[in-house]
């Protein structure tokens, strides 16, 4: 399995990404469109996957929540004035890449086992990035009552997974060479109309630690100031936690239902600050089988929204030593009642022989 570090050059755009790369992408798209029998399209590069979603919606004459003030969107408006009715042709590109690039490559140079192993080695990183990006886009669009537009399956940076396997052979199939150029020049996602191609490049950087997406004090994945993602040890977290942790208030933490996200808040803020946000008092504390302290904390005041005390079991993972806070009901009186309750047990029923 290849790590983020191994794939750094594949998953981020070229360091010198600029107009020359965009021209290369345009020329390569022209070749693909010619092969389909279409005229050369206008090819517009937008600066992030979020702007790509806006551009696609604009091309489809759907409402968009904001109109980016950029040369790319001005060019899109010019295109829409020239040809108001654009026809999506993502399916035709799919056919072209499948039938005239992937299949010939496979027939001429294919080695099914080798290709499968090659793709498997790239899959974890690509899958994780895809899930992270899809969730971020969905969340941002849903905040405006919108949903994501489907993208072109080809070209898409996922094509790198199989195309890179045939890298030394691409010059033998001209269209494969053009697709290779598009991806090498930095394309991440695209949407193809009959007279227009919209595309966005890969992020300008991806930050990791121990092969997990992580940015101590900065974004973990960065396209531009309007679209950047944040992670803490692989866990997606809000920008505020990383950029301005001093401004975190209990209202930011209370709605979080994911234990890993809450753990990230605790790790970034530190246990003391985390507890202080809730004004907790220690109710009970004991040592578990592995010598780790487990504690039960309760908010000093009745929470005005919950209309009851907030109560937290603070537990330590025996393997990783990570500290977790789990919310438990306020009627529980001691730490073992609380930990047992998290597994639906009474403290008499919860007696694990071993914890890992």
């Amino acid at each position: 399995m290849l790590s983020y570090q191994d794939l750094q050059e594949v998953i981020v755009r070229p360091a010198n990404f600029n107009k020359a790369e965009r021209v290369q992408v345009q020329l390569a798209f022209e070749k693909l469109y010619q092969a389909l029998g279409f005229e050369n399209p206008r090819v517009i590069c937008v600066s992030s996957p979020l702007e790509l979603q806006m551009a696609i919606k604009r091309g489809l004459h759907k409402p968009i929540p904001f109109f980016p003030d950029s040369k790319a969107f001005s060019a899109l408006e010019r295109q829409l004035r020239e040809s108001p009715k654009l026809i999506p042709i993502n399916g035709k590109l799919w056919d072209l890449v499948s039938n005239q690039i992937a299949r010939p490559l496979c027939l001429a140079f294919g080695d099914e086992n080798g290709l499968e192993a090659h793709m498997s080695s790239l899959n974890p990183v690509f899958q994780e990035l895809n899930v992270t990006l899809s969730r971020a886009i969905k969340t941002r669009l849903e905040a405006d009552g919108l949903s994501p537009e489907p993208l072109a399956h080809h070209p898409n940076w996922f094509d790198l997974k199989w195309l890179s396997y045939y890298k030394a052979k691409l010059d033998q199939i001209p269209l494969a060479q053009e697709l290779g150029k598009i991806l090498d020049m930095g394309l991440m996602q695209a949407y193809c109309f009959d007279k227009l191609v919209l595309w966005t490049p890969k992020p300008s950087y991806i930050a990791t630690e121990d092969n997990k997406l992580h940015g101590e004090n900065h974004p973990s994945i960065y396209w531009n100031e309007n679209f950047k993602l944040y992670h803490w040890n692989g866990v997606p977290v809000p920008a505020k936690l990383i950029e301005s942790p001093q401004e975190i208030r209990k209202e930011d933490i209370e709605p979080i239902r994911n234990a890993e996200v809450r753990r990230s808040f605790l790790e970034k803020l530190g246990a003391e600050r985390f507890s202080s946000l809730f004004d907790l008092q220690l109710v009970d504390s004991d040592i578990d089988l592995r010598g780790n302290r487990q504690s039960l904390y309760r908010s000093r005041e009745i929470d005005p929204v919950a209309k009851e005390h907030l109560q937290f079991a603070q537990v330590i993972c025996p393997t990783t030593q990570r500290v977790y806070f789990l919310t438990v009901p306020p009627h529980l009186q001691n730490v073992w009642e609380a930990v047992s309750w998290t597994f639906g047990k009474s403290s008499d029923e919860y007696q694990p022989e071993r914890e890992v």
């Binding site: 866990v235 993972c317 306020p330």
Partner: protein, 114 residues
């Protein structure tokens, strides 16, 4: 007897429950957003509990026909995550209990998905 691997508790049982749904899936618990999961490996029959919910957090019943292991693996590469040691389990019958927490604002109990 009970053993715990992170947010999963596994209990040896003597009795058995009817109306369980057999499954070929060996990934018992999939983590949310991190590509990690708890896998059972060995000569094992796995049954889903159709009444699994936060109030009754037993997600699976297991019949171990030989020695088996509960492992915490990366769901793509199937390599050890290093976050939880492997638990070795003797042949027998077991149930898998998920960890849960309480939402004081919604007054609901929910299964933890880490």
């Amino acid at each position: 007897m009970q053993w715990r691997q992170g947010d999963v508790l596994i209990e040896r049982i003597d009795d058995w429950v009817s109306d369980l749904k057999p499954t070929a899936e060996r990934l018992l618990v999939r983590g949310e957003g991190r590509f990690h999961g708890h896998f059972i490996e060995g000569e094992v029959e796995v049954y889903e509990n159709p009444t699994f919910e936060a109030e009754n957090p037993i997600s699976h019943y297991l019949k171990l026909l030989g020695p088996a292991e509960l492992r915490h693996l990366h769901t793509e590469s199937l390599q050890e995550t290093g976050e939880h040691d492997t638990l070795k389990l003797a042949p027998g019958r077991y149930r898998v209990v998920r960890q849960r927490e309480y939402n004081p604002y919604a007054k609901v109990i929910s299964i933890i998905k880490d």
